[in-house]
């Protein structure tokens, strides 16, 4: 072994580390591209309506109880709470059923009552049209407070905020509208995602046509033209072209 062997070993080690490092970088690049190629999930078309319904339900509750409801908005917590309340209600009901009345009216005469003291007498409500009704039936408490915890408040309790009608346009238009929203809200992120759209030209064309139909294609073009991205130019061109064609056809 020569004197330079330790140096060579160090060099080899460094080269191996560099190779490993570059391989890691390459693989991470692939991982990132795989992440970016994941399909974009679409929410249900009525998600806005459902959100607004939840908000309006919350708004319709008494203000003092809102913090408590907020805490119990999780469905599992609410279920546990409801089960607890139900158990408590049943327990109270049973206890009331078994407890002797404070001033019972005894149907049996005093002689028979003294002869059979072990049998618990039944209470009868006197002076009512249905006087032979068994009194303990009415001892079960009516769960008036339970309505406070019901999930769907009555329509009368709902405030008069109208929920916007669902758009009558087809789903494609709605999706294109959503994309146009995204484009204007965060153009950088939009163009970043646009890079991985497969039929990009067709998509941009459809987007531009939709914007032209809505009448704000020129405005959208004006909003996004300041962004520095290679795909901005074709997008602006398409938007202006579609806007022009729309005006000509009108």
């Amino acid at each position: 072994m020569s004197a330079r062997d330790p140096d060579r070993r160090d060099t080899e080690a460094l080269r191996w580390q560099a190779d490993a490092g570059s391989q890691e970088a390459r693989e991470i690049e692939i991982v990132v591209s795989m992440l970016r190629s994941l399909p974009e999930p679409e929410p249900g078309t009525d998600l806005t309506a459902r959100v607004m319904q939840k908000v309006l339900e919350f708004e319709s509750r008494p203000k003092l109880l809102r913090p408590a409801f907020g805490r119990f908005s999780d469905s599992r917590t609410a279920a546990v709470l409801a089960a607890g309340i139900a158990c408590a209600a049943v327990g109270i009901g049973l206890q009331l059923m078994q407890a002797p009345a404070t001033a019972p009216v005894i149907v049996a005469n005093s002689a028979s009552a003294s002869a059979a003291p072990a049998v618990r007498p039944r209470r009868v409500v006197p002076n009512f049209p249905s006087a032979n009704r068994v009194a303990f039936a009415s001892a079960i408490p009516v769960p008036r407070s339970a309505s406070l915890f019901s999930g769907s408040p009555s329509e009368a309790a709902m405030p008069a905020f109208p929920i916007a009608e669902q758009p009558t346009a087809n789903i494609l238009d709605r999706r294109l509208d959503a994309q146009l929203n995204e484009l204007q809200l965060d153009p950088q992120a939009f163009f970043h995602r646009l890079e991985r759209v497969q039929e990009r030209d067709r998509f941009v064309q459809r987007l531009a046509e939709r914007a032209a139909r809505r009448g704000d294609a020129a405005q959208v073009a004006l909003n996004v033209r300041a962004i520095s991205h290679p795909l901005v130019r074709p997008m602006v061109d398409q938007l202006l072209h579609a806007s022009l064609m729309r005006h000509v056809s009108e």
Partner: protein, 219 residues
């Protein structure tokens, strides 16, 4: 303490620059937010319409199920409505909303506590074509692509939530480091560290698709 130090000395330089630069333009939601904070529920509805897709997307990536993501989206917007007065317009509204959504996702995951079942459910649904479209046309490529997509989403769901959130926001949603730091309430260095660790973990999970063998195998 050690993990904090590790995060602080993260190999931030190894990460590429953010794909989305920090936008200094005025907040496009400012007017609607002002109206909503003044009590206009229609303005809030407009905000929901504008942002529901991106909130849903984030929550879907975090939770791995369409139903869970839709429920969590509703909870996030309800929470936003309840705590809207806390938004002081120092950051962009979308950043604030992301933070609310991130909290909703983390709370929901904590209460679920069954990530394994969720991963399996996701794989099953994808296999029966119940979880969104696969925009690949060639059948062979479609089969491979679908398999890879399932594997990527499963690997993503197996990441710890804090790493997953950082990776989703940066690599999928294209957010900037600063915005992610604002959303998560951590320094930018921590964000870079989490992204790096998340990517490395994904790289290990997806080695089958990277043309590598089992871990520890010499090339």
């Amino acid at each position: 303490m050690q993990s904090l130090v590790a995060e602080a000395v993260a190999p931030a330089a190894a990460l590429p620059d953010s794909p989305a630069s920090v936008i200094s333009a005025p907040d496009p939601d400012a007017d609607l937010v002002a109206q909503w904070q003044a009590g206009d529920i229609r303005a809030f509805e407009c905000l929901v319409q504008r942002h529901e897709r991106r909130v849903f997307r984030l929550l879907y990536r975090m939770l791995g199920s369409r139903e869970e993501a839709e429920d969590a989206t509703q909870e996030a917007f309800l929470s936003l409505h309840r705590h809207g007065h806390r938004f002081r317009r120092e950051a962009r509204f979308s950043t604030f909303l992301y933070r609310v959504a991130a909290n909703a996702a983390l709370n929901r995951r904590r209460s679920l506590g069954r990530s394994r079942a969720r991963v399996e459910e996701f794989g099953r649904r994808h296999l029966v074509g119940d979880e969104g479209p696969m925009p690949v046309r060639d059948p062979e490529a479609a089969a491979q692509g679908a398999q890879a997509q399932i594997a990527v989403q499963q690997a993503l769901l197996e990441l710890p939530p804090d790493l997953r959130m950082a990776v989703v926001l940066f690599d999928i949603e294209g957010r900037a480091y600063k915005e992610i730091a604002d959303v998560l309430g951590v320094p930018e260095g921590t964000v870079k560290s989490r992204i790096h660790r998340g990517r490395s973990a994904l790289r290990e999970s997806l080695r089958e698709f990277l043309g590598r063998g089992e871990p520890g195998e010499k090339p």
